[in-house]
Symmetry: C2
Subunit: 289 residues, 2 copies
Amino acid sequence: MNYGSIEAGGTKFVCAIGNENFQIEDRIQFSTTDPKETLYKAKEYLKKFQVDALGIASFGPIDINEKSSKYGYITNTPKERWQNTNFVGYMKEKMGGLPISWTTDVNAAAYGEYIMWERQGKKVDSLVYYTIGTGVGAGAVVRGDLIGGTGHPEMGHVLLKRHSNDNFPGICPFHKDCLEGLVSGPTFEFRLNKRGEDVSKEDPIWDMIAYYIAQAAMQVTLILRPEKIVFGGGVVSEPLLEKVREELKYMLNDYIPLPDLRAYISMPVAESNGSATIGNFALAQKIMM
Amino acid sequence: MNYGSIEAGGTKFVCAIGNENFQIEDRIQFSTTDPKETLYKAKEYLKKFQVDALGIASFGPIDINEKSSKYGYITNTPKERWQNTNFVGYMKEKMGGLPISWTTDVNAAAYGEYIMWERQGKKVDSLVYYTIGTGVGAGAVVRGDLIGGTGHPEMGHVLLKRHSNDNFPGICPFHKDCLEGLVSGPTFEFRLNKRGEDVSKEDPIWDMIAYYIAQAAMQVTLILRPEKIVFGGGVVSEPLLEKVREELKYMLNDYIPLPDLRAYISMPVAESNGSATIGNFALAQKIMM
């Protein structure tokens, strides 16, 4: 068996071919332009291989409700050219009815991390994966399945207790000072007039960012009681996560027992942002079973 | 088949016997005193009937991890006499090894509401049940199962964006101004020097309360994407929920599609706080299958 993966990001597409052990056998990436050109490139690439099932992980919002007439579409994304794009329909048509799994980028990443822990013999019952980069989002696996009732989670848009020293209004076009509006990559330029990667690790801004990310971790801890929370994305670093662990410990105040915080809150196991690709392979395999 | 139910609350115990259709055939309630006396009364009551399985829904925190040596215990509750009480162990021993389901009061209530919708031919995929009373807690059913990875949810203790006109410090002994610390029943006496039931429905305090409850609804919406959120407990009324719906609509700002808000956010279907009893019967049945 060979599995295909398309990781559709807002700035780039990563396509890959994997074997039954979810090892990458071939990989390509290209810029995200308009849907017609970009989907064509992805399809042409995949057609070069013998692919038995395909996993697609897309930027959102997307329709994942199998009962919906818009299942398989990218829906009301701010990227105007991509609004209302029938991603799955196009691939199904061009790839001869290939079985396709369809989910968000963060759901696939959560699933990939879950699978990697399992393959290391350290199976977890439940795992949440946050990405904190250009945007903020999360996916979660509970008892082997991705969560989401009527749609996929949008955990980046929760409201938070504001830090008493923080007057920043937030930049989310929908909610101003939700999690994404307070901690996503672009907030650094608005707050400090420089890019996140140019902000010193000693800058006090990181305490603020950690205060908010710890609240996200606290919410998801109290709602889902997961075994693990993984943070990926450009804003995340090990020094930042160390602050998040401290804040979380302080905020939760031993109300519920938590595992060792270094194990509970961590960066991804998969190298070079590969969690979603592995998740795609595994989700493609899952629909074949 | 007959099912037994024990709903163990901090102030009273409700025990009931139900048939296969989850109709209550007999019911008793008595005050919660010390564990020895209270559990004895519950056991003596149940022994009068032919019971095939028992559902217990308890105030918390409780240990529901089947791998734990403290499974079946009430753990570090503020009610000192009840700390470290082996509730399930006592019932198992006294009831001759009867099959017992064991969960929190709000989990059982969530399950009861889920079952009642199903029995009305309106099955939902997922449902969250909040109680807002002396304390605040919630349980959730997703795809037929109660959620909770390493333990039961504690959704009453999430932090929230503070209302700009609210300087109340909050009363949660662990987190001060978490949801429970801001909206639980006892907060009315601290804020207004009168009991919640004596506060006029026109009092502006209800806007504040609705603002916080709407944030809880928003969090759980963005994390779980449930089909329904039910609010029960002494603080909740239909006029309050109408304010919550308005706040939620305003806060979410059409970021994701929601069902009709009157269907999405509602009071319990079960009459006279009966959700947990029905949930107990159904959970008792489930462990027999």
